[in-house]
Symmetry: C2
Subunit: 226 residues, 2 copies
Amino acid sequence: AASVYDAYKIYGTGDEEIRALNGVTVGLRRGEFTAIMGPSGSGKSTLLQCIAGLDELTGGRVLLGTQDITNLNPTQLTFLRRDYVGFIFQSFNLVPSLTARQNMMLPIKLGKRTLAPGEFDEVVQMVGLGNRLDHKPKELSGGQQQRVAVARALIGHPPIIFADEPTGNLDSRSSGEILQFLRNAVRSRGQTVVMVTHDPMAAAYADSVIFLADGRLVDSILSPTP
Amino acid sequence: AASVYDAYKIYGTGDEEIRALNGVTVGLRRGEFTAIMGPSGSGKSTLLQCIAGLDELTGGRVLLGTQDITNLNPTQLTFLRRDYVGFIFQSFNLVPSLTARQNMMLPIKLGKRTLAPGEFDEVVQMVGLGNRLDHKPKELSGGQQQRVAVARALIGHPPIIFADEPTGNLDSRSSGEILQFLRNAVRSRGQTVVMVTHDPMAAAYADSVIFLADGRLVDSILSPTP
Ligand SMILES: Nc1ncnc2c1ncn2[C@@H]1O[C@H](COP(=O)(O)OP(=O)(O)OP(=O)(O)O)[C@@H](O)[C@H]1O
Ligand SMILES: Nc1ncnc2c1ncn2[C@@H]1O[C@H](COP(=O)(O)OP(=O)(O)OP(=O)(O)O)[C@@H](O)[C@H]1O
Ligand SMILES: [Mg+2]
Ligand SMILES: [Mg+2]
């Protein structure tokens, strides 16, 4: 569903140079749930954002779906992402002036997708925010904001979902609900999920785990649990 | 070191009323490490911010140190907190225009404390940010930003440290370093630590754990591990 070839993302120059990605080649299979783990600062968020077309590589190529997106301009990328990608940001990126409901519906309103009856309610029910929908982000707890960000990416069932630490602020019950939903999205609907996580319990829901360190792929394991 | 008596924090009115704190009485002993756990939205961040004087109660009383702070005005609270409290926010609250180093040193610069030689380096070394000090928050990974927020609260060894999910974005090695440091601050320096966490592994570093649900204290256990 997505891949990068010899991907480089370099900030600064000379002594100041930081290689957030230092030659990464990885293919993420369609209809699979892949977890990405690694130390803080190892390039996980950078990799996710470059594959999803939210950030540009310094070198190398990106394929999203079957399309080489390496040299698309921001407008073309926005159109492609709108109906194809759901993205859960590590720092949520909610719109402060919109309510939880409006934040969740934003990709649908901006895109071409239409929701089937019950689709909105199903996701809202799963993240457990039924009674907070008309509140703005500043009136929500950290974990409630995270769940709005999760719902926004899942409503409308986009073919590929990128999740950057989607359960970092959640108790084990809320986390379990979301991870189970992501797994079902893959098993029953054929969606593709790529999730960065620090939590081995969350990684256990995935079909495979890839490990980054210092901007490089250093290891991978298949099906950590059946 | 801090306590609340019959604390209420209520938002909205009538049907819309949310009781973030619904009659909480708890004492946090000096020189101890207390963890606070509970479901997302149960009132943990609210409790922490009200005890630390960052937010006002709707009803009830707060003691910080030996002082009743319930009715102090914002200026008085700022003076009290400046040299007495270190606070690690769930969403970090870093100043975007300042570098990591400047963010960490802000409480010291604003307050009366002076740093002993080596104190800054010791904390920077522990959080592992030695080579990122001159970067601004937007040039740092999520976990690096969290570590700046942690360092800012620990430099200068304030008598009481409030930590709201300090390891949510960190891998197990970085988390372990910080939790060990917090435990040492309590064991060897007599500081007081109050930490909200969703992670049972983190709670295991504490001397006791208190549990919130729906704005109430529902349970507590002493020394989850020796
Ligand atoms: N300004 C506000 N207006 C209305 N409700 C609010 C406001 N601030 C917080 N709340 C509500 O108060 C409740 C408790 O919030 P709090 O942030 O203390 O939860 P928490 O236990 O820290 O949750 P999490 O684990 O998700 O961080 C939540 O239901 C939240 O939506
Ligand atoms: N704009 C920037 N300028 C300079 N360095 C940057 C910039 N953005 C990111 N970096 C650096 O690139 C490296 C990788 O960052 P990235 O956010 O991908 O890490 P991560 O694996 O997601 O970490 P975490 O687990 O802490 O979220 C980090 O060392 C970070 O400081
Ligand atoms: Mg990251
Ligand atoms: Mg909270």
